[in-house]
């Protein structure tokens, strides 16, 4: 019975905050909600409580729909990630000098409710329901608080692009529901009609895949992403890259591979495209000077590797991909927050804006380096565990793909170190060494905690694998 709280609690608090828009921002409320949900997650998983919930919803045309939530395995891990990232995010916004109103917090919380719903839903309609709900608050967040002259256009592109994908999926859902007629939209019931059917028909499976790869995003469906990341306010960028991208990957595992296990071999050609996208995105990251763009494209590259690893249908590769989904969420959270600090404190736009950060602000420099190295997947960081496992599996699956994936890792090292080198070292430039007015201790604390988790999981990854194994 406690499981629906993951959705209802943030939703109600979110709506409540929207309604008290005009008042003084209640900065602590969001952190409290997501922190409480992290605690609830640990309470449920450590006490071995039943992590499933089911109730009737409605039936139409003789197909029943349930409210079915299930927080085990990858879904549980993603649930933990989303609430953890949100907690860090809220504490970060609260402790920095950013002025957001209550409706900003409220919309973020409503998006959290939707995200939790996506990771918990075990019924196809319910899944689609939450999948779409996430978009609405994000749309308003970017539209109202976004930056840059082209924010409306970027926002609309992002919105229409992802909705277009969703609509293809909805067409697939309707076809499955009312033509193949499963007993209900529960995943187990839907599997029974799709598994035999889809060994002969690939068109419908494609409808689902398009929705998911747009959300991740995988080349060539990534075009909405860099501008959306660039124009969004930082908290939204974090949600987009750390969590909404995971929605897509989670959906590939849970729904695409879950419903069409026999067909996925035919999609191997798609993996070549994805790997091409990986190299392509890495090269762009290497050639651009805009820091946000570097991280955006780096994200595309890393997600592409996870996507490919999921299709190896290999135990090690899959586990590695799951692990990396969690790890990438934390690393990218750290990177975006550091970019935000740089942007607000030192007016950094591109990698030539400042120099000598290591001299001026060593703590921040160290944190940037830790997250940078985690992005490169250096041993001792969590990314190494996941990436090693994925590359390992990929090598035994398809050598060509593995070679190009490894090339991507090398490129990732190049662009990350180029970024760090340009900002951290050299003569101090554009930084006022005497300017100590801006207090960043709260921000640093959040980043340090996240960095510690990243390193801890790099040394001792077992807790995550335990959650996955459930």
């Amino acid at each position: 019975m406690l499981l629906p709280l993951f959705i209802i609690f943030p939703f109600i608090v979110g709506v409540f905050m929207l309604l008290m828009n005009g008042q003084k921002p209640q900065k602590w409320l969001g952190a409290l909600v997501s922190g409480a949900l992290v605690a609830l997650f640990f309470y449920l998983s450590c006490n071995g409580k039943e992590m499933a919930y089911q109730a009737d919803w409605f039936s139409f045309n003789n197909v029943k729909t349930y409210i079915a939530l299930d927080g085990t395995g990858l879904g549980g891990l993603m649930l933990l990630l989303s609430n953890l990232v949100y907690a860090a995010l809220f504490i970060y916004i609260g402790s920095s000098d950013q002025k957001y109103s209550n409706s900003f917090y409220g919309l973020l919380l409503i998006a959290l409710a939707g995200l939790n719903g996506v990771f918990l839903a075990n019924d196809l309609i319910l899944f689609y329901f939450f999948w779409e709900i996430v978009l609405i608050p994000i749309y308003f967040l970017i539209g109202i608080w976004g930056k840059g002259a082209d924010k409306i256009k970027a926002n609309m592109t992002f919105f229409l692009y992802t909705v277009l994908g969703s609509m293809f999926m909805l067409a697939g859902i309707i076809y499955i529901g009312f033509n193949l007629k499963p007993v209900s939209f529960l995943i187990t019931d839907v599997q029974q009609v799709t598994t035999p059917y889809f060994s002969t028909n690939t068109f419908l499976a494609l409808l689902f895949l398009i929705a998911f790869v747009i959300k991740i995003p995988i080349f060539p469906f990534h075009t909405w992403q860099p501008t959306a990341y660039k124009t969004s306010p930082t908290p939204v960028t974090v949600v987009l890259s750390a969590l909404m991208a995971k929605m897509g990957l989670f959906a590939v595992v849970h729904w695409f591979l879950g419903l069409f296990p026999s067909i996925s071999e035919l999609f191997d050609y798609f993996l070549y495209v994805a790997i091409f996208g990986l190299i392509y995105a890495s090269l762009i990251a290497l050639s651009t000077k805009n820091i946000k763009k570097i991280i955006a494209y780096s994200s595309i590259a890393h997600l592409a590797l996870i996507f490919v690893a999921l299709f190896t249908r290999n135990e090690i590769g899959t586990q590695g991909a799951y692990f990396q989904m969690f790890s990438h969420g934390l690393v990218v959270l750290g990177l975006w927050l550091i970019v935000d600090v740089l942007e607000r404190q030192y007016n950094v736009k591109d990698i030539n804006s400042i120099k000598g950060l290591a001299t001026a602000n060593p703590t921040l420099a160290i944190l940037l380096m830790i997250f940078g190295l985690a992005n490169v997947a250096l041993p001792l960081t969590s990314s190494f565990i996941g990436e090693f496992m994925m590359l390992n599996a990929l090598f035994s699956y398809n050598k060509i793909l593995a070679v190009f994936a490894c090339l991507g890792v090398i490129l990732s090292a190049v662009y990350t170190l180029r970024l760090a080198g340009a900002i951290l070292f050299g003569e101090v430039k554009n930084i006022d060494l005497n300017d100590r007015t801006k207090d960043t201790s709260g921000v640093i604390l959040v980043l340090a905690v996240v960095a510690i988790i990243v390193i801890f999981l790099g040394i001792y990854p077992t807790p995550i694998f335990e959650i996955i194994a459930r």
């Binding site: 329901f129 709900i133 539209g143 609309m156 909805l170 067409a171």
Partner: protein, 462 residues
């Protein structure tokens, strides 16, 4: 039967009351009470208490579905009257007559819900339409309004011709006007029989604004005073669809020609969706956008006709209610802001956050995004089409068009919230606020508990 009688009587009463009562608000409230009387009459009928029982055995049928649908439409009408209570007086001086016309038109709607005879169906359609032709031209100062009236009348007369010819053909092939005997046709007149059906379908397509018979819609909706456009695009459209589905349910679903019918319907749907949505995208006028949007929405509603059974009837009812509530809210905003172009809405999010939020919910519902009834409505409608494997392509097209529709619906949101500017829209009074809250609640509750509304259908209360 009850609903027809009460509605007609209300029309007559209001026609004369216009002489004595000049206050448009008072007239509005009286009309709202009369619509509540229609609802009560309908509820009595559902439970078997009928006025004039059995006097017209071959004319009025016993369709509980039709009665429940009319009750739903009457409830919508109450909402419509109350939310627009300040608007009727602004159109002109003959307020009493406007309400009389609305009731006469509603009588037609009520007839369309209960006909048992093609002649009565014809009567219902004309009864519904003719007052609307007049209402379209109520703003005598405006050339556009007059144009709307004339255009509506001419096009309507044209579709009447189709309908009459179709009924004649069906009569020729079957020898009866009775709806339940429609499918018993003489094999020698097969061609004429199906031609009759096609003509009837065409004429209903005129009424619901489906392509390629939609041409009148944008000009008429834009020219008609907004307060009546709101009625036209919701209750009249709902009534037309009610008649449409009731006559279509007599079409033999297993006939060898039913495949052709599906092709015909599919073509109409695709055309409607494409022309409606592309038409809306290119508009600068919000009202014209809403006119094209109503064409596009008709495209979705037509999906329920693919297989007429209790499920599709439920879907149509659900769609009509949800779509109408959203439309009422948006048209209310258009009137309040006197919005001609999108730019007139700039700053509404700051000036009147509540109205902007209500409008956003309504737009999101029209766009068919979850958490609102609009999503469930589209889902239900499409699922009826989804029962045929061949329809997958049409469904994909429909959903891609739904994405296009988000472009123009969200353009309103962009102007309300994302663009810098001033707006001086004052807050609305308590009753309107309460109605807007009711509207939002209906839209969201329908999105979360979609089972509620269909459970009211055709179920007696005691």
């Amino acid at each position: 039967m009850n609903t027809i009688i009460i509605s007609a009587l209300s029309g007559i009463i209001l026609m004369f009351s216009g002489f004595y009562i000049k206050n448009s608000r008072a007239l509005t409230f009286i009309s709202a009470l009369m619509f509540i009387a229609i609802i009560i009459g309908g509820v009595f009928e559902l439970n078997g208490c009928k006025m004039l029982d059995g006097r017209f055995p071959n004319m009025i049928g016993e369709s509980l579905y039709g009665v429940s649908f009319i009750i739903g439409l009457a409830a919508l009408a109450v909402f419509y009257l109350l939310i627009n209570k300040d608007q009727f007086g602004k159109v002109g001086n003959h307020v009493g007559e406007y309400f009389a016309l609305i009731f006469f038109s509603f009588t037609g709607v009520a007839v369309l819900g209960q006909f048992n005879n093609l002649v009565l169906m014809f009567l219902g359609i004309e009864l519904m339409s003719i007052p609307m032709y007049i209402i379209a031209g109520t703003n005598k100062e405006s050339l556009k309004s007059t144009e709307a009236s004339v255009k509506y009348f001419l096009m309507g007369a044209f579709s009447t011709g189709f309908l009459l010819l179709g009924i004649t053909f069906l009569y020729g092939a079957t020898g009866t006007f009775l709806v339940e005997n429609i499918d018993k046709f003489d094999q020698n007149f097969e061609m004429i029989y199906y031609l009759g059906w096609i003509l009837i379908i065409f004429s209903f397509c005129f009424k619901v604004g489906a392509a390629p018979f939609h041409m009148w819609t944008p000009d008429v909706y834009a020219g008609t005073p907004t307060v009546f456009t709101s009625y036209m695009s919701t209750i009249v459209k709902g009534g037309s669809f009610l008649g449409f589905i009731l006559v279509m349910q007599q079409f033999p679903a297993d006939a060898e020609y039913s495949g052709y019918l599906r092709v015909l319907l599919g073509t109409i749907i695709v055309l409607t969706l494409v022309l409606g949505n592309f038409g809306a995208v290119t508009q600068n006028s919000v009202k014209k956008m809403m006119a094209y949007s109503s064409i596009a929405q008709a495209g979705f509603m037509l999906f329920v006709l693919f297989q007429v059974n209790s499920v599709s009837k439920e879907a149509l009812f659900f769609y009509t209610i949800v779509y109408s509530v959203a439309n009422f809210i948006i048209f209310y905003t258009i009137q309040q802001t006197k919005a001609e172009k999108y730019e007139d809405l700039i700053g509404l999010g700051k000036a009147n956050p509540f109205l902007a939020a209500a409008t956003s919910v309504a737009l999101i519902s029209l766009a068919g995004i979850p958490l609102t009834g609009g999503f469930i409505a589209k889902f239900m409608a499409l699922s009826i089409g989804g029962a045929n494997a061949e329809n997958l392509v049409i469904i994909v097209i429909a959903l891609v068009m739904a994405v296009l529709s988000m472009y123009y619906y969200f353009k309103v949101i962009i102007h309300m919230y994302f663009k810098e500017g001033q707006s001086n829209i004052k807050t609305q009074d308590g009753l309107t606020t309460a109605l807007l809250v009711v509207g939002i609640i209906v839209l969201i509750v329908m999105g979360i508990f979609p089972g509620i509304l269909p459970s009211f259908l055709a179920t007696p209360m005691w």
